[in-house]
């Protein structure tokens, strides 16, 4: 076998083994999307209940709470970037980080300091590589976020929010994540988490579709608070924030898996193309070698015949 042929055969073999890996990753990601979507759905009754309750309390009683009052001057804003732990997901991390950078630029132009919080190894390494200070980072659960982790993040953010600005506290909190729309559509976006913009009671009543109250009943009945409106709000708001963070984490994990599946599908297709090309090239090389051998044999025979005829 010729040297050229051997080179092509080697390339085909290595591409084939890569293809197997891509294919496996594609299948794994595809099955994990389903799980991530199921988790998102499983968490939705809780967040619906919370949203409804928070809107009810806020809409009905004029309770002032530290989490809902807009500070007069905002000097520092926290940005929580929810990214992936691993790569191999196409432009997922790049798109998310671009969105985060855009938000940071916007906040800076308003004269605010930025305090960065990150979730996921990729987001963390992006900022540490650029020597940007990260206040706190979490990693290791971007694919399987849990309520406990969301609570942990929520507690840290609340702590920063309630601290004085001079002690490193922040006046508002933004969250950047990738919203999962469908397995082919997921958009990076940012939202302000705190201070809370609680939806108006009327709006929530008409906007919450399936949860709409029975016909004839007012959007929110007059609630009795147990033990008091302030205590209820105190208990509800941190949970509401945790639940918003959890839903962002879940949405991000579904998006991550979907991006990974798409990226691995493309990689598998490219590997197929490469294998095809190399097979063609190897065939051509083999044909060329055979042709050359034949020419050599025929040429040799001719030369022999000519020399024996000349004797």
């Amino acid at each position: 076998m010729g040297a050229q042929q051997r080179v092509f055969k080697q390339k085909i073999r290595s591409t084939q083994s890569l293809r197997k890996i891509f294919k496996a990753m594609e299948l794994i990601a595809a099955s994990r999307i389903q799980k991530a979507v199921a988790r998102t759905q499983a968490a939705s009754p809780y967040s619906t209940a919370l949203t409804r309750a928070v809107s009810a309390v806020a809409g009905e009683s004029n309770v002032d709470h530290v989490l809902t009052t807009e500070p007069e001057t905002i000097t520092r804003a926290a940005v929580l970037v929810i990214g992936p732990d691993r790569g191999f997901a196409g432009a997922y991390a790049a798109n998310l980080l671009r969105e985060a950078e855009e938000l940071i630029r916007l906040l800076r132009s308003e004269g605010k300091d930025i305090a960065l919080f990150t979730v996921g190894g990729k987001a963390e390494s992006y900022y540490t590589f650029r020597d940007r200070a990260i206040v706190k980072s979490w990693s290791g659960f971007s694919e399987t976020p849990t309520a406990d982790k969301a609570r942990e993040i929520g507690e840290s953010l609340l702590e920063a929010f309630t601290a004085d600005t001079d002690d490193g506290g922040v006046d508002e909190i933004y969250i950047v994540f990738t919203k999962f729309v469908s397995s082919v559509k997921h958009d990076p976006e940012y939202r302000r988490l705190l201070p809370l913009a609680v939806v108006d009671a009327d709006e929530a009543g008409s906007g919450s579709g399936g949860e709409a109250p029975k016909s004839g009943a007012p959007a929110f009945p007059l609630y009795e608070f147990e033990p008091s409106a302030e205590a209820v709000l105190d208990a509800l708001l941190p949970r509401y924030i945790d639940s918003r963070i959890l839903s962002a984490l879940l949405s991000a994990s579904a998006s991550e898996q979907a991006s990974r599946q798409a990226a691995m599908k493309t990689a598998t297709d490219n590997a197929d193309d490469l294998i095809k090309t190399y097979t063609r090239l190897a065939n051509t090389a083999r044909q060329a070698e055979i042709t050359q051998e034949l020419t050599e044999i025929v040429g040799g025979a001719d030369a022999l015949a000519a020399s024996s005829a000349g004797d």
């Binding site: 499983a42 968490a43 009754p45 809780y46 609630y223 009795e224 147990e226 033990p227 205590a231 949970r239």
Partner: protein
Amino acid sequence: MAVLEVNVVAADHEVWVGEAKRVIARTLDGEIGILAGHEPVLGVVAEGETRILTTADETIRVKADGGFLSVENNRVIIAADQAELL
């Protein structure tokens, strides 16, 4: 007789859904019993046990570790950080 529509949810999953005659939950101030036709309530649930008497006269016991409870229009929602059937 009117029945209560009960929904017990934890942060990451639904725990129990069904119809009930009576719900007894533990709030910060003590236990609260809810029958059909109860006035709307929003309360903070303390750590402890919630007992639900279903329409089939079974008692469902749920362990919850803090959260809240809302009652309106014979609909009871208990949302806890963590909850499990006992």
